[in-house]
């Protein structure tokens, strides 16, 4: 009955101190989100609007993407279209080769992760430098992010101290966050100044103006695009919003939901290439258009990648991002993984208690928990239902359909109270791991009712 998630989660939970810190820290971020959202009386109206704007834009992609391309092109940008990850990576490589780029700086992009861009470029001999501090730490450690907004949330300051000591030559034993951040600032400043091209993701792409909007706190996207002449912005096609009016709804929701800030330090609007430079925009499908054909799951395309569903999820907080088998963890990752390949990523479906907290905090009202519930109903169809659970529910069905047998079983049940432990808590009883059975009552409610004992 164990899934890959539950096995990995047990490992994460084994380090109690770290697991507790992870849980409490993310809950603190969730609490900040609550505080900030309550300062905006129209918060719920904004969430409804965000959901409806996305439903509109994602059902009018044909029109909006072309409008975006027309406006971006008129602004002087070069728009590319990529069917899948492979084509995306090749387009990026083509641009870099055309300009003989050897040094490439990147700000955070989950789409680049999705496409496995970095290993592809590095193999082709291009130096790729992640410039978001968390991402850079992970790149130097050669491990993936464990959260989409707080990528290095699973790493302790001592680990960063040791890493920087080795890679950047910082003082031995100094793990002060300010000291380490300053060291990274200096190290990356050189990278910014010497890069020939920069990449950013896109938080939003505005159809009516052709703008790419990027939100960061560190200013790394902006530093990156300030010096090199070449800027490549990559976007999943669901990043499109119709106009600036709609954009306003999302820039109010994003940072408040993500980190509990009123807005990110920088909300940058890229419209034209730099003087004498080039601005490339790559629109990526990679399976997104297929999702449009699944009405029950279409709202996953509403996601603005704020990470609020992870911060609130009792399972994510206690199991960490690496417990999930898809590169995006948490409630949204469970769903996106299933849409990408149910066969491959079904294990993550177990990482949910169906508390629906995710659905309640999502700024774009993605029905995350409800979709996980629906997927679970499909498990048997794809041949991935747990055998033990199937047997158990088969037995329950047999019993429930036979009232006499059910009542006898109930009458017998107090016997369990006196059974020796090895019969109750063994390999067959997954449920009994870390849980104690309650005492069975001597008399069932049914019997008490019949004897008129229930007042």
């Amino acid at each position: 009955m164990s899934t890959k998630h539950s096995i990995a989660a047990a490992k994460f939970a084994a380090n109690k101190e770290q697991a507790t810190w992870h849980n409490e820290t993310l809950w603190m971020v969730r609490a900040k989100r609550d505080r900030l959202s309550k300062e905006i009386p129209e918060w719920e109206q904004l969430r409804d609007l965000a959901c409806n704007i996305k439903l509109y834009s994602n059902s009018h992609l044909e029109q909006l993407l072309q409008e975006f391309e027309k406006n971006a092109t008129a602004n002087g940008a070069i728009v590319h279209w990529a069917k899948d990850a492979k084509e995306h990576n090749e387009i990026v490589l083509g641009i870099l080769r055309d300009h003989e780029v050897k040094h490439f700086v990147k700000s955070k992009s989950m789409l680049a992760e999705e496409c496995d861009l970095n290993p592809f470029l590095i193999e082709k001999g291009i130096e790729v430098v992640e410039t978001d501090l968390g991402e850079r730490i992970l790149q130097l450690m050669d491990i993936p992010p464990s959260h989409i907004v707080l990528p290095a949330i699973h790493i302790k300051r001592q680990q960063v101290g040791e890493l920087f000591e080795e890679k950047l030559g910082t003082e031995k034993g100094n793990s002060d966050p300010t000291y380490l951040t300053r060291a990274a600032r200096k190290h990356l400043r050189d990278k910014f100044l010497n890069a020939e091209a920069a990449m950013t993701g896109a938080n939003f792409a505005v159809a009516s103006t052709g703008d790419i909007v990027v939100c960061t706190n560190e200013g790394n996207a902006d530093m990156g695009t300030s010096c090199p002449k070449i800027h490549i912005a990559i976007m999943g096609m669901e990043k499109i919003v119709p106009d600036q009016e709609a954009l306003g709804v999302f820039t109010r929701l994003l940072a408040r939901s993500a980190t509990g800030q009123p807005v990110t330090s920088y909300t940058s609007h890229y419209r034209k290439p730099r003087e004498g430079g080039e601005f490339h925009i790559i629109i990526v499908d990679n399976g997104r258009s297929q999702i449009l054909g699944k009405p029950e799951h279409i709202k996953t395309l509403n996601c603005i990648r704020c990470g609020a569903c992870m911060n609130t999820c009792p399972v994510y907080r206690r199991s960490g991002g690496y417990s999930y088998t898809y590169f995006i963890p948490g409630p949204i990752g469970i769903n996106l993984g299933m849409l990408y390949s149910a066969e491959k990523y079904f294990d993550n479906l177990s990482a949910c208690s169906l508390c629906l907290s995710c659905s309640h905090v999502c700024p774009a009202k993605v029905d995350l928990g409800e979709q996980i519930y629906r997927w679970r109903q499909e498990m048997d169809k794809i041949g991935k239902a747990s055998k033990e659970k199937k047997m158990m529910s088969g037995g329950m069905k047999f019993l429930m359909e036979r009232p006499k047998l059910f009542n006898s079983a109930l009458w017998m049940s107090p016997v369990v109270n006196i059974l020796p432990r090895f019969l109750k808590y063994n390999g067959l009883n997954e449920w009994g791991k870390g849980r104690e059975l309650p005492e069975f009552a001597k008399e069932s409610f049914n019997e008490m009712w019949k004897k008129n004992k229930v007042k």
């Binding site: 993407l65 968390g134 990528p151 790493i155 966050p177 560190e218 297929q290």
Partner: protein, 192 residues
């Protein structure tokens, strides 16, 4: 078939219900004292503010507040305390090592302490590369919220604009807040 055609075709094939565009009017929050709210939020996000008094000399105030700044960049005609004009430099990289950048904002946003900067300098690096940034802002130009902001923002000839809310920051090491990641370590808005 080009990839564009392939994608548009796939979108056409898979799109089912077409949802209407919602009415975008929001009855958004407003403040009795926009300037006070703006300053309050700006401080919360790690920024500072200074309200210039009547007859006070802007350049003198800037120098008094930044006694250690050696290399000061500004393109503004009324700034005389600068040591160089970034517009006269060829490459953005030459701006590296700027202690203080002085720029002008278009308008402020009360709900989040942000200032809209429509790039009006040759090198946008000035906004990000300076160790500290001073934004001069007309105190009468503060809007309530982002809806109002987007109704009036424009992007001019350089084709770039940015809302800046406080200095650059990160909490990527154990969620400990550190002011000054890649951009300015300090940000002050001078309201005049």
């Amino acid at each position: 078939m080009t990839s564009k055609e392939w994608i548009l075709d796939s979108i056409r094939q898979h799109t089912q219900t077409k949802y209407d565009k919602p009415e975008l009017s929001v009855d958004a929050i407003t403040y009795n004292d926009k300037q006070a709210k703006f300053c309050d939020i700006l401080q919360q996000v790690g920024g500072e503010f200074y309200v210039l008094k009547e007859n006070e000399d802007l350049n003198k105030v800037i120098l008094e507040l930044n006694p250690d700044a050696k290399r000061i960049g500004s393109t503004l005609s009324y700034i005389t305390c600068n040591t160089y004009n970034p517009d006269e430099l060829e490459n953005s990289t030459e701006l590296s090592g700027t202690d203080l950048g002085i720029v002008e904002g278009v308008f402020g946003v009360a709900e989040n302490g942000a200032v809209w900067m429509d790039q009006n300098v040759k090198h946008k690096a000035l906004y990000f590369i300076s160790e500290k940034l001073i934004i001069v802002l007309d105190k009468n130009k503060i809007v309530n919220n982002m809806h109002e902001a987007y109704r009036q923002m424009e992007i001019g000839k350089y084709g770039f604009g940015v809302f800046i809310s406080g200095p650059s920051k990160t909490a990527d090491i154990e969620q400990a807040l550190v002011i000054g990641a890649h951009g300015p370590k300090g940000l002050m808005v001078i309201l005049k």
